[in-house]
Amino acid sequence: MSTRAASLLRKLVPWGALLPMALVVLVGYLGTALWTLRVSLSSSRTFPNDDFVGLAQYERLFDNERWLLSLQNLAVYGVLFIVACIAIGFLLAVFIDQKVRGEGLLRTIFLYPYAMSFVATGLVWQWVLNPGDGLQQAVRQMGFESFTFDWIVDQDKVIYTVVIASVWQASGLVMALMLAGLRGVDEEIWKAARLDGIPPWRVYLSIVLPMMGSTVATVFVLLFTGVVKVFDAVVSMTQGGPGTASDVPAKFIMDHLFGRANLSLASAGSMVLLAMVLAVVALLAPVLYARSRRGSVGGHA
């Protein structure tokens, strides 16, 4: 029995080594996601219960003004944040790529906010943007008496302040990835373009940017997954206020899970978030897959 049993045992070792991963996948991810799906179809409040109410929670969710406001905020925040990050990140990368002096220092300055936590970022900007002693006051003291910049206490504009802080935090990341992509562009293209007398900005817009499609897609997915779970920054910067003016879905869900004891409504909300992420990932999967196959442009940093 000994040799056969021993060889069988040896075959099982790799399986055993992957057991933690299997457990995490089955329990940590799949099991919990299914559990949340199930709870979202029940009427659970403080404790999970196993009745079945169909899509009633989803109907209530989309009747809930706070949820709708948080979705609207998420849309505004998401669009502005992603567009601004990609635009600024790309511009910075292109400008740094012009053989400027102090490239290393500039890269360090542009990227350091990304090393900071969302909480710290939110708190700094809360301080800078508060009208009483922050930027508004400082500009007024420079002689511009009527200067007003009080978005953080303005219900209609507060979400833009979260955009400003987040763009400050994340556009350096986009710059780093884009710069890596730019440096991966074939030198021959530049030579050919110069021979043809095409101005550099045209080359960037019409040739280089389309070539970096997969880098842009990666950046987009990275930023988008960040948008969906935006929570820390809002909590630390505005606490969702004034009132609920800067509420976001993640905060709505956390409040209903832990503060308001409405498990089923919170679960329905998180399933909506999941659906949004899955839709975007599925849409971009072909581009991302192509990238990981080729693995050239943007793989270096």
Binding site: V100, A115, S117, W127, L177, R194, S236, M254, Y289
Partner: protein, 305 residues
């Protein structure tokens, strides 16, 4: 993903002759530098404001002058932030959170890296049947928003008796970092020639000896990148620590937010800014020291394929 194997090198700079562009200061170059300077000021300003504010007294802060250097330089705010400020119930400063974060970060870095390396090794070289499907599901799991998983995981950790405990929060970090860690090492090992592995097998190496004696020592660059990612990621985490760590082990980010957003009365901005810098110190230090390795972690982790 060939980039993963080579140690980080300076990004290739084009040879000088490749793009003949005048280095003299023409209007275009001036505009270029002006843009970069303004951008650099925008990015650097918050750190500057944090620093000068933390060295001012409250009297001076009330006068405004956000950008002014401190007239009466004082480190009182730093002392208060570190050892006196109230974080919710107790008033022992953010140092409590600092040591809590250290206690969370160390095991939450070592354990996920070892498990990630082990997963990558098994997936790349032993290829047990069905493992790739498992890996694909794990990568898909990386996209699930935290909010979907958080409550069921509260239930799971409670059932294991780990909710609100140090092992509990470490387990949670292990779960949430497993996709990226596994991906990093799988791709790294995929770029190591299979012949090397086969030779070790012929020499009679088993699963564990090959991993511990051959593959792990070869993984130093990836171990460094992974450690940078884990230390900064876990240190900067807020929501997981808030839910799973329990009041005894609240990480520094959570305590910082408590200091600033739950205190009543006048806000001590100098203390707040000192506390914010203290909380950012570890990840900033990692970033400034590690430089290109940090960027490389981002690039490698960004590729979810």
């Amino acid at each position: 993903m060939s980039a993963v194997l080579s140690p980080p090198a300076a990004p290739p700079v084009r040879p000088a002759a490749a793009r003949k562009r005048s280095k003299r200061l023409n209007p275009g170059r001036v505009g270029l530098y002006a843009f970069l300077l303004v951008a650099a000021l925008f990015f650097a300003a918050p750190l500057y404001i944090m620093l000068v504010t933390s060295f001012k007294g409250m009297d001076e802060i009330r006068l405004g002058h956000l950008f002014a250097l401190p007239q009466h330089f004082t480190t009182d705010a730093w002392h208060a932030a570190w050892s006196e400020v109230c974080t919710g119930v107790s008033c022992e400063g953010v140092r409590v959170g600092f040591w809590n974060s250290v206690a969370i970060v160390v095991p939450s870095t070592v354990l996920p890296i070892l498990v990630g390396a082990l997963n990558g090794y098994a997936l790349s070289f032993w290829k047990p049947r069905g493992a790739n499907l498992l890996f694909a599901v794990l990568m898909a799991g990386a996209f699930i928003p935290v909010q979907v998983l958080i409550y069921p995981l509260v239930k799971v950790t409670a059932a294991l008796g780990l909710f609100s405990s140090l092992p509990g929060i470490v387990l949670i970090h292990l779960i949430f970092s497993m996709p990226v860690m596994t991906l990093l090492f799988r791709n790294y090992y995929a770029s190591i020639p299979q012949e090397l592995f086969k030779a070790a097998r012929v020499d009679g190496g088993g699963f564990w000896p090959i991993f511990v004696q051959l593959m792990l020592p070869m993984s130093t660059p990836m171990l460094i990148v992974a450690a940078i990612m884990q230390v900064t990621g876990v240190w900067n985490d807020y929501v997981l620590g808030l839910v799973f760590a329990g009041s005894e082990h609240l990480p520094m980010t959570v305590q910082l937010n408590n200091v600033i957003n739950t205190t009543t009365g006048e806000r001590l901005y100098n203390v707040n800014m000192a506390a914010t810098i203290l909380t950012s110190l570890v990840p900033l230090l990692v970033y400034f020291v590690s430089g290109r390795w940090f960027v490389r972690g981002i690039a490698a982790g960004a590729v979810k394929g």
